[in-house]
């Protein structure tokens, strides 16, 4: 065993550092997770059938996570859509997500808005609240603070329309929980880069 002598004793299977004998007790295996950061990606795509399944399926197939996904046509001829994806991943996985999206045939361009810097993110929510008396007055007062508009009203309920960042809407929905929240519908994030250039 000529060359091995420089490497220490020939290793058995498995290597001694990672193995334990039965007497020592088996090392329980745990699934490891990495620290992640949240990024907003803007994906310009050809508006062809199945494109949404292609994008969303790539995330499930490769184990990436989607916090929010919105899609809408953005040209007059309806040929091109913008898909805005909020995802959390470690920096190396984020690089993979972008590269994997970029190599899909119908994808024109992928922009990491978070990495690029200044951008605007907005979400719209419709929030239904039911109640009477003080709850009703408090709901209206909070809505005013959050610049939420009343888009439907009955004697015993309101529907508010509120726009803002994820955090603002989370907070508004949380507050409505105290004053008769019934249900919520949210659009997911739409985002765009600041400044005069297209991202």
């Amino acid at each position: 065993m000529v060359g091995l002598s420089t490497l220490g004793p020939a290793r058995g299977f498995p290597n001694p550092e990672s193995s334990r004998t039965r007497e020592e007790g088996r090392s329980p295996m745990h699934i490891k997770t990495e620290a992640t950061e949240r990024h907003t990606l803007s994906v310009i795509v050809d508006n062809e059938p199945g494109i949404l399944a292609r994008i969303a399926g790539l995330f499930t197939a490769r184990g990436y996570n989607i916090e929010s996904l919105t899609v809408s046509e953005i040209t007059a001829d309806k040929a091109v859509s913008r898909i805005t994806i909020v995802t959390s991943a470690s920096p190396s996985v984020m690089e993979q997500i972008i590269a994997q999206l970029d190599r899909l045939v119908p994808v024109h361009k992928v922009t990491d808005l978070t990495a690029r810097g200044a951008h605007v993110e907005r979400e719209l929510a419709l929030v239904k609240v039911a109640g009477t008396g003080d709850h009703r007055i408090e709901a209206l007062r909070l809505a005013e603070v959050y610049r939420a508009r009343v888009v439907d009203a009955t004697i015993a309920s309101f529907v508010f329309e509120v726009t803002g960042t994820i955090e603002k809407i989370d907070k508004f929905v949380e507050l409505m929980g105290e004053v008769g929240l019934v249900e919520v519908a949210r659009t997911g994030i739409a985002a765009i880069a600041r400044g005069r250039e297209a991202a």
Partner: protein, 581 residues
């Protein structure tokens, strides 16, 4: 201009694209296409016995000729049977176009007879796919599909065509050069990046070129350029499983395959290198072993046509997005223009010589038993002068073939690397024989794998294809048994190949010649008899039953933790290691 049916448009487009052979199997949803092919008579159709075999045959054809393989199958089960081969082609970057029939558009979504959501099922196992609902779009889609399948990083493209679209009529105009609006793979790298890698190669004391299937995909000229690059830089070359043949195995600069069953010298050189230049290879888990111990002191350059391959498993210092051939051509040109002298790597080669002296591919031999490695070497001895095309199934025999059969040229080694598909070898050999009628084509098989597509014996018989099957029969799913021996204290759960057929009689039943080789002394004569027979031959070569494939880096171990021989093995493994593939 007269309108044509969708089926006629398809056939005409295939002819315009230079397609000579289609591998397929008819069924209800492709009858219009089969009728159009029958009437046209311009495309040779090879009738396989199972749709999976059509895809592997197309892969074998593609890998051995450099031309795209074309598959035609029906809807539902026809398409789902093709899924394994489509995935195989995706993982090994094989150019392939798969045409699937679909139920008429009016029936899609109704759970109609033989309906399957083919575009849904194949969306993530193909490079791209289409459902064509308008015959007027069909011609353009077919041309685009071939463009996508064959350019950039090659891969399988699926075109799903409902039966009414095959019958309805439209005009077809042969399109010109395709300028896709979004798909534009980068094939040439910026000059500055080429200069950087040349600087790094010129300055390196312990460089190594780590090459893969991308060099083969870049065409035979890329293999020539690799030889030239190795010659002028003096760097050693190691190859992945998929890259074998791009660099001549007989070259003194070749260290053999690296990775899990690679040579000691290749893995030690990767571990000790100060510069790794990866060319058309993708740092696969079989290659790297334990990631945090992979080539720890090297700077790394990754030349790949697919940006998503870069930094996927291993972070590199320089990424060059380009076709391997273009990149090497540019590197050689810059190197020569600067008149770099050949770097002095003599110390590095002295160390490599020390690792080589371990002779990691040696194997013990005794008695009349045939060691499988001996059988591969005997096969090489008897055939290498004819530059044969070798296909394999998946398992121990595949690794022994990779280790012991030396390949001198590209496109001669066809194996399922990424997906590891048992049953690949026989249909791949059929496809390769069709693409290379004069070549000697041998499927090196195991007795378990060969049974996964054994029905294709009939296909070879029908088309008078003189393929040879050389079975290393050890009566075990050997690689499964080897892992059970190494990690589960030899509890051989379901890995014994019970109730094996008599392969000689089986071959004869299909019109093949059958030969059995049982003792060491019969090996050379048996191989000669196989080669002397003009038609197809199946050889049942009985080999040592418990031989294991070494060297081996256990899953999740470092390159320096190679097992060289069986006596180094303890037979247990903790849960962390067991969970790795």
């Amino acid at each position: 201009m007269a309108e044509k049916s969708g089926a006629d448009i398809l056939v005409e487009a295939l002819c315009d694209l230079g397609v000579e052979v289609v591998f397929g199997y008819p069924g209800g949803a492709v009858l219009p296409i089969y009728d159009a092919m029958f009437r046209s008579g311009r495309i040779k159709h090879i009738l396989v016995r199972h749709e999976q075999a059509a895809t592997h045959a197309a892969e074998g054809y593609a890998r051995s000729t450099g031309k795209p393989g074309v598959v035609l199958v029906t809807s539902g089960p026809g398409a789902t049977n093709a899924v394994t081969g489509i995935t195989d082609a995706l993982l090994d970057s094989i150019p392939m176009v798969v045409i699937t029939g679909q139920v008429p558009t009016s029936l899609i979504g109704t759970d109609a007879f033989q309906e399957a959501d083919t575009v849904g099922i194949t969306r993530h196992c193909s490079k791209h796919n289409y459902l064509v609902k308008d015959p007027a779009r069909l011609g353009a889609v077919i041309h685009e599909a071939f463009h996508i399948a064959t350019s950039g990083r090659p891969g399988p493209v699926v075109i799903d065509i409902p039966k009414d679209v095959q019958v309805a009529t439209a005009r077809y105009v042969k399109p010109g050069v395709i300028q896709h609006k979004t798909y534009r793979p980068q094939v040439k790298a910026p000059q500055s990046e080429i200069e950087q890698v040349v600087d790094m190669l010129a300055a390196a004391e312990r460089p190594i070129l780590y090459t893969g299937g991308g060099v083969i995909n870049a065409g035979p000229a890329a293999s020539q350029l690799l030889c030239e690059l190795a010659r002028i830089t003096g760097a050693p070359v190691t190859s992945t499983l998929m890259g074998l043949g791009a660099f001549p195995a007989s070259s003194p600069q070749f260290l053999g395959m690296l990775g899990m069953h690679g040579t000691f010298e290749a893995n030690m050189a990767m571990n000790q290198a100060d510069l790794v230049v990866a060319i058309g290879s993708r740092f696969d888990d079989r290659v790297t072993g334990r990631l945090d111990a992979f080539s720890p002191n090297s700077r790394k350059v990754h030349i790949d046509i697919d940006r998503s391959s870069v930094n996927k498993n291993v972070r590199v210092d320089l990424a060059i997005i380009a076709d391997a051939g273009h990149a090497m051509e540019d590197m050689v040109r810059v190197w020569k223009a600067r008149q770099h002298p050949k770097p002095d790597t003599s110390d590095w080669w002295r160390r490599i010589a020390g690792w080589r002296a371990v002779k990691s591919l040696d194997f013990p031999e005794s008695g009349t038993e045939i060691m499988p490695q001996r059988a591969i070497r005997a096969l090489w001895e008897a055939t290498h002068a004819r530059s044969p095309i070798i296909t394999t199934e998946v398992g121990q025999h595949q690794m022994w073939a990779a280790q012991h059969f030396g390949f001198e040229k590209p496109n001669k080694w066809l194996t399922s690397g990424g997906l590891g598909t048992m049953g690949y070898g026989l249909p791949a050999a059929i496809g390769a024989q069709l693409g290379n009628p004069k070549a000697l084509v041998i499927d090196i098989a195991g007795e378990a794998s060969i049974q996964m597509n054994i029905q294709e014996l009939a296909t070879a018989t029908q088309y008078r294809l003189p393929v040879k099957i050389f079975i290393l029969n050890n009566e075990y799913m050997g690689m499964v048994r080897q892992w059970q021996e190494l990690t589960y204290e030899s509890r051989y759960a379901e890995s014994y190949s019970d109730s094996l057929p008599d392969f000689v009689k089986l071959g004869e039943a299909y019109g093949w010649k059958g030969i059995r080789i049982e003792a060491r002394g019969e090996l050379e004569d048996g191989i000669r008899a196989m080669l002397d027979h003009e038609g197809p031959v199946i050889v049942d070569c009985r080999v040592a039953k418990l031989a294991n494939c070494f060297p081996m880096i256990p899953s999740g171990a470092a390159h320096t933790d190679m097992i060289l021989q069986a006596n180094e093995v303890s037979g247990t493994m903790d849960d962390e290691a067991k969970a790795l593939v």
